[in-house]
Symmetry: none
Subunit: 203 residues, 4 copies
DNA sequence: ACAACCGGGACAACCCGTTGCT
DNA sequence: AGCAACGGGTTGTCCCGGTTGT
């Protein structure tokens, strides 16, 4: 790997937590300089603008989280197991040391009402990708007979995502893991109700 | 009402949507001037600083929403009915014309990681108040026998809040009501599972 | 006159020499701050951008010069007298203490190849206005019989302008009045050849 | 010619139009990089600073124009013919494809009020050289009896130069050749008036 | 006394010409 | 010879206090 690429990667890795903590528009160049150790010119040699760096940092964060999701899904056999694993991996974002500040997708969704439309588009794409991961897992479970036939992939994806994002917000607001733990417990129970063998459950 | 108080109130009412839309730190004085119609001096005559105005606007927004919650709760008799009403009132924030930008509490919780600690404190207080409203409704339902004895007030408050906040974020990200509708449907079903078998219905 | 208008006028008057000396794009904000005595915010309170100030300063300079031309023209009776007066007033720009840096129109014409198109447009307008002043004087002289019938107003305007602008450039380059003096002498003779009573002359 | 010298020459040739178009201070290194195809380091290998390159580019442009003047002068026999040829060659600068942006000497004279003193000195030298070319032609014509005895070499050089530079500015400002054409016509007539009555025509 | 205006200066992002290291 | 890093300089926006006029 050439030296320039190394530096660029280092900038992205160091910048991602800054953006995720201070917001993708609230992060000042000075903060990024502090975090990366480079000077203004050094950063601008690799990124044409602050927004370009923000996009790269967002993509990096999303990709890094996505990798963890995929690993978790691959490690499980059953659809319910996969779903629970996804929930648990999401919950780990609460105190992920490599990306403090919560879920980058949720943060960006809330913050970028009027800021960068590009960033907003990326957030949608990331969210859609995450939805698809849940939805296809549900579909597969239904096909295989593991999950009840009326389990709606879209609804499940929505409920799981909404509950987790909201719980993450609560736990970060109060600095207390209990909210996320309650959400995980609730979602685990919810997923169990979708299993065919257990019978009745919430739609 | 004295004239000064009127002006102050008008500033707060006009500023609240600005803050909620652009973020409580991203709202510039220029934007507030545009919205209120006053000059800089006019604003600073009534508020010592931009943060003071932000706090007042936040409090105003929270109080205004809180009023709606209380009205909804008072209009229903049963605990389950009250809970569903709360859910529905929250969902109305999606396209509330008087306060665009989503839920001020959730927005503030996400945004103010490092910004104003005072504002963060207010957000916690507002969230706690909302939690208490749900929790006490659940407790009352349990006491009256309407809800199952094992219904945990704290858990219910957490699940309801998290799901709603997360769904609001999703619907605003995609600009599509369906996510919030799914959440409302899910929570309504969830609340029904908390009802004792006596069969008391929705008010 | 309100105080704000006074300040604005003072800024323009002080900024005009700076722009004319350093170029309308080469003048830095720091130089303008030095010249006006105000801080950045003070200037930006009155002008939305550096370009807006540059335009105002250019217009001020042009108008101020134009006033001098009109006075000179009004003070003479004959067409030839008016033309010679215009030449002499132009020549005074060499050491005009109120606007050092030469002719703002010529400077801008040379400088703004790719800079502000608006400024370029203003320069054209100012130049056209100056041309018209010469041309109409010639026309009037021809009509009255004072000047020879074949005196072409456009050609005269071009020759007078070109010679003066070029001589101003030379005198400023060498810091020597002699070039401008030669031009004035030449143009005076040239104008004399256009007089009907003197007979033959250069077209 | 060694390869390094070739590269240096290529840089100068490509840089000259950039400097002449954007101004010797307004031309950014980025623009020069675009024009030359080299990287920053490549340029700084051949020139110690941007100013050094600017000087080289200016000298190159002036020398190139000077060569054309000398050729034109050599091709004519009579003094008047030489003078008219000089005028015509100058006029060709209006749309010279190899050096867009007008006359480098005039541009530099106007622009470099406070920029590089060295560049200003070069502009003076170039202008003096051009003056001498005209002046010596006049002197030679006077000596040979072709031109009238009272023809002042200095005055002729001044008038010719001033008119041409001014007309070039006008034609470039309006993007219209007519101004230069009028100047050429005027100067041609002017030169004819300097011819002795012996009736020697234009070469 | 009060509201509006004006000015201050720190800071924003970004670009600049330049130098060193590979 | 070229890429990487530097840091000062650019314009422009920020929020806020002092001053002025009514």
């Amino acid at each position: 790997m050439p030296k320039g690429e190394q530096t660029r990667q280092r900038i992205v890795e160091r910048a991602a937590p800054i953006f995720n903590t201070l917001g993708y528009s609230g992060a000042s160049l000075a903060a990024l300089i502090d975090a990366t150790g480079l000077e203004k010119g050094g950063i601008y040699n690799h990124f044409a603008s602050k927004e370009a760096l923000a996009l790269a940092a967002f993509d990096y964060a999303v990709q890094e989280i996505g990798r963890r999701y995929l690993e978790a899904v691959r490690a499980r056999r059953t659809a319910a197991g996969k779903l629970v694993a996804l929930v648990e991996v999401f919950a780990e974002q609460l105190d992920a040391p490599w990306l403090p500040g919560g879920c980058p997708v949720g943060n960006t969704a809330i913050e970028s009402d009027d800021t960068s439309p590009t960033l907003r588009e990326r957030a949608r794409a990331a969210m859609t990708s995450w939805h698809r991961l849940i939805g296809s897992t549900v579909k597969q479970g239904v096909r295989s007979g593991e999950l009840v036939a009326y389990a709606d992939p879209y609804a499940v994806a929505t409920i799981v995502t909404a509950t987790l994002e909201g719980a993450l917000m609560l736990s970060r607001l109060y600095d207390d893991r209990v909210y996320m733990e309650r959400a995980v417990a609730h979602l685990t129970a919810y997923i169990r109700t979708l299993q065919a063998t257990t019978g009745v459950g919430l739609a």
